[in-house]
């Protein structure tokens, strides 16, 4: 290395940073190991497995959206095809007694995703922007419709099922119990996260960012943006295939819903809500959206409404997603200015929560009146009892919404001011990021 580079180039991270970095990964491994000891019920394990699958799927989607700037409406195609091939593979391996244990089946899904991405990607990635989005939409509709027509392969709308325990055993595990599936998914999730993280730190990964920022200029530093988009598409397809195969292993069934628009929409949601600008964003989003979609429908019958309102709120107030919102605080923490903002947070929290509570109260009472008229007016929503026929409830809802809003708005303005001051103070100390 030249003397100049050691002076000008970004320094290699010191040992302490590297320890922190590897410590983080080690911590993640440890967490994944102990998680099932803390939460051992069947549905907790299922939830964790689904979160892991969703993490891989969302990260693969972010290779397209966050890193290469490609908005896809059809990413589930590669997820689904990976799932179908995995199911067929399990059946075939089981029937022919091939010496392939279950943990390697996700690789088959990945290769399937890769294969179809290689096949369909070249024409899809010729253009970026809306044209790409619309092609992905068209292709997704075509494949999803074909899934219902080609019954032998896709099993019609009933799908294809398999028995994952019929494969040769590895370490004497038959992968029947959910806990074993959890460890399988956890291991693959770790592998996939490491692989996709490593990918962002390669020349190709950086050129993806360059294509996202400015495809025109990329051409004038020697790269063909189409090739970069295509490669990114293939990688995304590969990891989506792995996720699909894991889902197929988890459910022991693959059907047309894997390929559908809803699945493609969900991954777009998770990724964006988590934050496309950060590697960790989709992970946060996957955890959040999976838990939300699994539990919200138990809490209220109009979960779709809350879901919709929540997404509207996120895209309006937190364009960087949840991660973006958290990362905003980094300069403040580094500059030691967080303490000056915190009180304002607490102050605005009270009326904001009041407003949200009022909104929920209003919605739930309204729902009760329109959906279940004439039933017991004492209902329980979000674990709180109240009487919907009492005018007091209506009044309380109204007061909470209107009063909460006006007070909250005042506190938000104060909060924004405090925030700006704190940020300026932090910047002056030289912590801009």
């Amino acid at each position: 290395m030249t003397e100049l580079a050691s002076r000008v180039a970004p320094p290699y991270p010191p040992l302490s940073e590297r320890i922190k970095f590897y410590g983080l990964w080690a911590g993640a491994v440890l967490l994944l190991l102990v998680l099932p000891r803390l939460f051992s019920s069947g549905s907790a394990l299922t939830t964790f497995s689904l979160i892991g699958i969703s993490i891989i799927f969302s990260l693969s989607y972010n290779i397209l959206l966050g890193q290469t700037g490609l908005l896809s409406f059809g990413h589930a195609v590669y997820y689904g095809l990976g799932g179908f091939l995995a199911i067929h593979a399990i059946n075939m391996i089981g029937a022919n007694k091939l010496p392939i244990p279950l943990p390697f089946v996700p690789l088959i899904g990945g290769m399937t995703g890769l294969f179809f991405a290689v096949l369909l990607g070249w024409v899809s990635t010729q253009r970026s922007g809306t044209a790409f989005a619309m092609i992905s939409l068209g292709v997704a509709e075509l494949i999803a419709s074909s899934a219902l027509i080609l019954r032998t392969f896709f099993g019609g709308e009933a799908g294809i099922s398999a028995n994952r325990t019929k494969l040769i055993r590895l370490f004497d595990w038959n992968f029947g119990p959910q806990i074993q599936i959890y460890y399988l998914v956890a291991a693959w999730t770790l592998i996939a996260i490491v692989a996709m993280y490593a990918l962002t730190r390669t020349p190709f990964g950086r050129m993806c960012n360059a294509v996202r920022d400015n495809p025109e200029r990329v051409q004038f530093v020697g790269y063909d943006p189409h090739v970069i988009r295509y490669l990114a598409f293939c990688f995304a397809g590969f990891f989506a295939g792995i996720a699909g195969a894991l889902a197929a292993i988890n459910f022991e069934i693959a059907n047309a819903a894997y390929l559908g628009a809803a699945q493609s929409g969900t991954v777009l949601f998770s990724t964006y809500i988590g934050g496309v600008g950060y590697f960790i964003g989709p992970i946060v989003g996957a955890i959040f959206v999976t838990v939300l979609s699994l539990s919200l429908s138990d809490l209220t019958s109009v979960w779709q409404l809350y879901f919709g309102l929540f997404f509207i709120a996120v895209v309006t107030f937190a364009p960087g997603g949840i991660t973006g919102l958290l990362m905003m605080h980094r300069p403040l923490i580094k500059g030691g200015a967080l303490g000056t903002v915190l009180p304002y947070y607490l102050i605005s929290l009270v009326p904001t929560l009041a407003m949200i509570a009022g909104l929920v109260l209003g919605i739930e009472t309204l729902v009760h009146h329109t959906v279940n008229p004439g039933e017991d007016p004492n209902i329980r929503a979000f674990g709180i009892n109240f009487n919907v026929s009492s005018p007091l409830t209506w009044l309380a809802a109204l007061v909470l919404i209107v009063g909460g809003f006006f007070v909250a708005r005042k506190t938000w303005i104060r909060l924004a001011q405090a925030w700006d001051e704190a940020l300026t103070a932090a910047r002056e100390k030289g912590h801009s990021t």
Binding site: M1, T202, N214, Q219
Partner: protein
């Protein structure tokens, strides 16, 4: 005798019925600094776009060191050793200055689309990027996102990206546009240093820059080169005086 760095022969370009470039003939010899001047709308940027493959000529050929490059895609031309900057700043706005320059170094360093190498562990890329960074004087701004740089800094980065790949034919499109006098002087020094030993073709409106920097000048009027020569020849060329300098004098 070596082939000219760039040779444009009988190039026509029309959009619909409007012909922008007519019978364009231009030759830039290797190692010279060649300025392309002309009134607004003469087709200077279009000429750059034709050379760099951004648009294809309706007819005629463009050669780079004797090889025909017209009809090739921009990245193919770039890989043959021709690089350009843009009139409007055109950097990777969300990436840091360091990342910007490194992206420009990768292809010629032979790393292409490689997805198996850690980008931080490529010593020759690191050295070359550091060199350019120091050259354009942005070492202290290394980690700032390009979109947050000042205008002059962005222009410097723009030139840095253009030369970072080591192309031996450099095209600069109005590199000093919108700069103050002092900034312009610094930019000219920078250009002079960075293009040492390479072929430079430059479009510029600032005549002091043109006449101070260029070995030869071509004058483009209505998509047609009306004169080519040394600064002195151009100064005294009556056609140029009439068509261009004459206008300014009047």
């Amino acid at each position: 005798m070596t082939a000219p760095a760039i040779e444009i022969k009988d190039v026509q370009k029309s959009f619909g019925n409007i012909s922008i470039i007519r019978d364009l003939n231009l030759s830039v010899t290797q190692g010279e600094r060649h300025a392309l001047i002309g009134p607004n709308g003469a087709g200077k940027s279009t000429t750059f776009n034709l050379i760099t493959g951004y648009i294809a000529p309706t007819s005629g050929t463009v050669k780079l060191r004797g090889e025909v490059i017209s009809g090739l895609r921009p990245y193919q031309i770039n890989r043959r050793g021709l690089s350009r900057s843009f009139q409007v700043t055109n950097v990777f706005a969300n990436m840091s200055v360091w990342e910007n320059l490194r992206c420009a170094v990768l292809w010629t360093a032979g790393h292409r689309y490689s997805f198996w190498k850690n980008i931080d562990h490529l010593p020759e890329v690191r050295d070359r990027t550091a060199e350019i960074l120091a050259d354009i004087g942005l070492a202290t701004r290394r980690d700032v996102p390009a979109g947050l740089l000042t205008y002059a800094e962005q222009r410097a980065l723009e030139i840095g990206i253009t030369v970072a790949g080591g192309a031996d034919v450099i095209l600069l499109d109005e590199p000093t546009a919108g700069m103050s006098h002092a900034e312009t002087e610094r930019a000219v020094t920078l250009i002079r240093r960075l293009t040492e030993g390479r072929t430079l073709m430059i479009v510029e409106h600032d005549m002091s820059v043109v006449f101070g920097l260029a070995d030869r000048i071509s004058v483009l009027v209505y998509g047609h080169v009306i004169a080519t020569g040394t600064p002195d020849q151009i100064r005294s060329d009556p056609k140029v005086r009439e068509a261009y300098l004459g206008e300014e004098a009047a």
